[in-house]
Structures are given as structure tokens and as C-alpha cells.
Subunit: 227 residues, 2 copies
């Protein structure tokens, strides 16, 4: 066995997922009443411990899959929270991730089973530990990312109208965008593919559906929203 490191402490390592969804023109977060002690029953992000054979990213994927039934989800590190007193009873280091999911795709039975609820971002309940900080930082990350790419699109169905996209951006940045200018700006990026289908449910006239084009998944650094 290895002797080099024997003088140093070892810590529990967890991941916590800030799971964003979008519904009724507003951003929502999936929160859970914590199922085990300590602080059982208080609202928290969904998390789990990192097992011996997995990275934090893999652990976050697993947690996400276990709680929403979804795989291949947009997932990104937010930061690592390591204040020695962040949990009450023992020291746990937590790596926070944020995930963007299409709220209509997730497994509702699975989430209900654990008592999970979608909470509007603007009216969150009190959260355990430093989960509030994790959420703030995740939101800041998301806003920044959405300003440079169409990252936020993961929150919409695969096919969407420009109205839906605009409403999403309005929710993200808490401001309104001129409909005409928004359309021109987004289409000028050349990242969207116009489909032959129309959505007739949200307007009299009907609006064409769009989806992210193949080429779009790659490099797209142009600015969309001026903050």
C-alpha cells in the first residue's frame, strides 16, 4: 500500500444537482425533501455521495438518472463547496452541478415517489446548508452561458417556436425582448433549423417550429444577449 499520503485527512465527497426546468413561462427547480438524517425533511437539492469507481461528473449523472429517469442531460460543474462547517455533524465536501432538462420529459412517477416538487425560482422554500448559494451560482452560470450560446434551449422541447424561445430568455434574464429584433438576432446566428411543422396552439396564425441544427452543437461563441 501507499504510505505517501497517510498523514492527511480524508473526507466524504458528495455531488448536488441544481436541476432547472421551464414551465408556465418561468424557471423552476426540482427540490427534494431530504430523505435521511441529519435535517431529514427539509428541502434540498438532489445529491448523492461519490462512489469509489466514479468521478463527480459520473456521480452527478447517476443522481440525475436516478431522480428524473433522464440520461444524456446537459450537466456542468458550478463549483465546489467545502466550508468545514457547511454540514452540521460531519465534514462533507460537495461539488455542485447544474442540469437543464425538458420538464415534460422527466419521469414524474419517479420524482413523486421521493416527494420531489418543482419550485418557481423566484419563490423557493428555505433550503438546507449552502444549497441556496449553489443555486445562485448555478443561475449566474446559466445566464452567462445562455448569453453566448443557445444553452438554455435544453429547457425546451426538441421542437419549439421562436415565441417559446423568447419567453424562455425573458424568464432567464427577467426582462423583455423586442419580438422582431429577437427573431432576427437568433436566426442570424445560423444555429436553428426551420422545420416544416407549425405549432397552432399558441397563436391564431401558427408559428413554424425550429430545432437546433447539427452544426450548432459545436463552437458557437457569438454573443446573444448584452447583459
Amino acid at each position: 500500500m501507499v504510505e505517501f499520503y497517510k498523514d492527511h485527512s480524508r473526507y466524504l465527497l458528495a455531488v448536488d444537482c441544481v436541476i432547472f426546468g421551464y414551465e408556465d413561462d418561468e424557471l423552476k427547480l426540482l427540490l427534494y425533501p431530504r430523505g435521511f438524517e441529519p435535517v431529514r425533511g427539509k428541502w434540498s437539492l438532489m445529491g448523492g455521495f461519490v462512489e469509489a469507481n466514479e468521478s463527480c461528473e459520473q456521480a452527478a449523472c447517476r443522481v440525475l438518472q436516478e431522480t428524473t429517469g433522464l440520461q444524456n442531460i446537459f450537466l456542468e460543474q458550478v463549483g465546489t463547496f467545502s466550508d468545514p462547517t457547511r454540514e452540521e455533524y460531519t465534514r462533507v465536501i460537495s461539488v455542485a452541478f447544474f442540469a437543464l432538462i425538458d420538464i415534460r420529459q422527466h419521469n414524474i412517477d419517479l420524482t413523486k415517489e421521493k416527494g420531489a416538487q418543482w419550485w418557481p425560482l423566484r419563490q423557493l422554500p428555505e433550503l438546507i446548508f449552502d444549497h441556496g448559494q449553489m443555486i445562485s451560482k448555478a443561475l449566474a452560470n446559466l445566464q452567462q452561458k445562455a448569453g453566448y450560446s443557445l444553452a438554455g434551449i435544453e429547457l425546451l422541447p426538441a421542437k419549439f417556436t421562436l415565441l417559446q424561445l423568447r419567453k424562455l430568455y425573458e424568464a432567464l434574464y427577467q426582462r423583455s425582448f423586442d419580438a422582431g429584433n429577437f427573431r432576427k438576432k437568433i436566426l442570424s446566428l445560423g444555429l436553428l433549423e426551420k422545420l416544416d411543422e407549425k405549432n397552432q396552439t399558441e397563436s391564431r396564425k401558427g408559428a413554424f417550429l425550429y430545432s437546433l441544427s447539427k452544426e450548432a452543437r459545436d463552437s458557437d461563441t457569438e454573443r446573444i444577449v448584452k447583459l
Copy 2:
């Protein structure tokens, strides 16, 4: 003692610092020949283990202070590296930080004592583990941050000329900037304070020195460089 967590593994937790400096019109990194096994003698970022009473941020501060003699340094998380096989002999999770220091302020004796060297960013030696990845990510962070704020300024002395600032930005982005336009853009941000001193060493005419104004430390989200 606490029983809730007893089923979960505990891991060694380290921090690694990507220490940026700026000298001779180019970005440099402070690297160390690793002083202990395994892989003793290979070049690496300076790091250390997180002790029981400190957060990762505190550990990074401590490491930075121990290696450069500097305190109150710009320091920011880059990301957490947790691949189970990232180190050869045992599992270590590492949180990478990046630091910006004024290369002329650090304690040269202290760094020399450990065999540390400043390496031009464009000609780095081979590094241990995933330290190369940490550096790439840190650089990307720095570039992005410098595009929105005057973050890079920490690499310069407290008083500097606009030529020095421009050269720094040119090194950061590996491109040139029009001298007149750069001056106007930077000054229009209202973040710099013009001093009554001049630097006579870098031009015949002499250039006024500037420093970051008090108000500037706060929110400054306007874009400086278009990427």
C-alpha cells in the same frame, strides 16, 4: 459519533494553484518540481492537501502564501478534478484554483528554495497528472473574465501605464489592439484613476500612470474585448 454516513468512502482532497504572472510581455506560470513521491521531480502546479479546519479556498490561500509569500491574492476556483484514476497510486480529488500575481512582488528566495520556475505559457514542460487540463481551463477562465472586467490587472503593478495594460491584453488574447481605441475603451469604463505620476522609462514622452479606482472593485459587467 455520527452513523448516517458510515457506508460511504472518504477521499484525499487537494488543491492545485495555477499561478499566473506577467513578464517580458508574456504570460508565465509558476511551476514546481514535485518534492515528494509519487512522481517526485516532475513539473507540477503547486498544491497541497486540504486540512481538517480549512476550506479549499483557505487551503489555496495557504499554499499560495507558503510558496510565493503573498497574501490577499486574486484567487478563483477553476474546477474540481475527480477522475478515479487521475493519480496513479491512490485516489485524490483536486480542486484547481487560479491566481493572478504581480510577478515582481513575490518572494523570490522562497520560490527558488523549492526549485520553482516561471515558465512562459506558450512553452510549458510536461506536467504530471491532469495539470495540463487545469491550466487550459484556468486560461480560458482568465480570458473570459478579462473580457468582462479588468481582472487581468492583478498581473500588473498597482500603478501602470495604458501601454502596459494593452500589452497585457495582447498577451492574454494573442492578438493586437489598436492603441487609440484600446485607450478610449478602457477609460470609458470609468474604472481607472489617473494618477499625477508619469512613467518615463518606457517612452520618450512619458506616460501617465493609472490605478484601479475604488468603485471599480464592485460590479463591472461591461464587455471589454470582443472574442
